[in-house]
């Protein structure tokens, strides 16, 4: 898929672990893993908002368009 998820890089910058983020935004680590590995079919605005709030970043920091 041409939409790439850069969540790992942002998490590393903030020094935060995946399970901590999952706890803060209120989703399971399994679902966060689906998001990180790019297996997710869609992302809710509410989830994106919670991630941006927790990591103090912009949606563009997490999502990136990379043409095939």
């Amino acid at each position: 898929m041409p939409i790439q998820i850069n969540l790992d890089a942002v998490l590393e910058k903030r020094g935060m672990k995946s399970n901590e983020l999952a706890d803060i935004i209120g989703i399971t680590t399994a679902n966060l893993s689906i998001l990180k590995t790019g297996k997710a079919k869609a992302v809710r605005f509410s989830t994106l908002e919670a991630i941006c709030k927790a990591l103090d970043c912009q949606p563009a920091d997490i999502l990136e368009y990379v043409p095939d």
């Binding site: 679902n31 966060l32 997710a40 079919k41 992302v43 989830t47």
Partner: protein, 158 residues
């Protein structure tokens, strides 16, 4: 889900009745010589003579197999929920069998009607009903398949 369970029970009872019916018929044919023992002149009126009765038996067996697939599909729904790939496969097979059985049975009825030169009573309604059930099962298969796809996408929406 309650209605699915009721349908499952009804189909299960039908299958049991079918089995009892087959066993009883087999028993009567082999152990009671007087059962359906008509004179040869009687059978000569039919297209395949004595063997004409076995054509309907063949259609009954096909219907039994289709019922078995419907039962399996409903069982999967009860266990795993409405939309899953397994039950859509079972429903597709049963729908195709119902459709083929209904069509063949209707053709058989037309053949008998033609052979008897219109002396047969009009009784093709059950065959048409079987065709409708078959088509209905195929429509349900499509609905379940699409539902499964939507469910999968919904599950992967974070």
């Amino acid at each position: 889900m309650k209605k699915v369970k009721i349908l499952y029970t009804v189909i299960f009872i039908s299958i049991v009745l079918y089995i009892i019916h087959f066993i009883m018929n087999t028993f009567l044919m082999y152990y009671k010589p007087e059962f359906l023992n008509f004179p040869k002149t009687f059978y000569s009126q039919f297209i395949f003579g004595y063997y004409t009765q076995f054509v309907s038996l063949f259609f009954s067996i096909l219907t039994f197999i289709a019922l078995f697939y419907v039962k399996s599909g409903l069982g999967v729904i009860i266990k795993e929920g409405f939309f899953n790939a397994k039950c859509s496969k079972q429903f597709k097979i049963s729908g195709n069998i119902f459709l083929i059985t209904g069509s063949l049975s209707f053709l058989w009825y037309l053949l008998l009607l033609f052979y008897s030169k219109g002396k047969m009573p009009i009784s093709g309604a059950s065959d048409v009903l079987l065709i409708i059930i078959g088509l209905g099962m195929l429509v349900i298969t499509d609905i379940v398949k699409n539902g499964h796809l939507i469910k999968k996408e919904n599950d992967l929406t974070i």
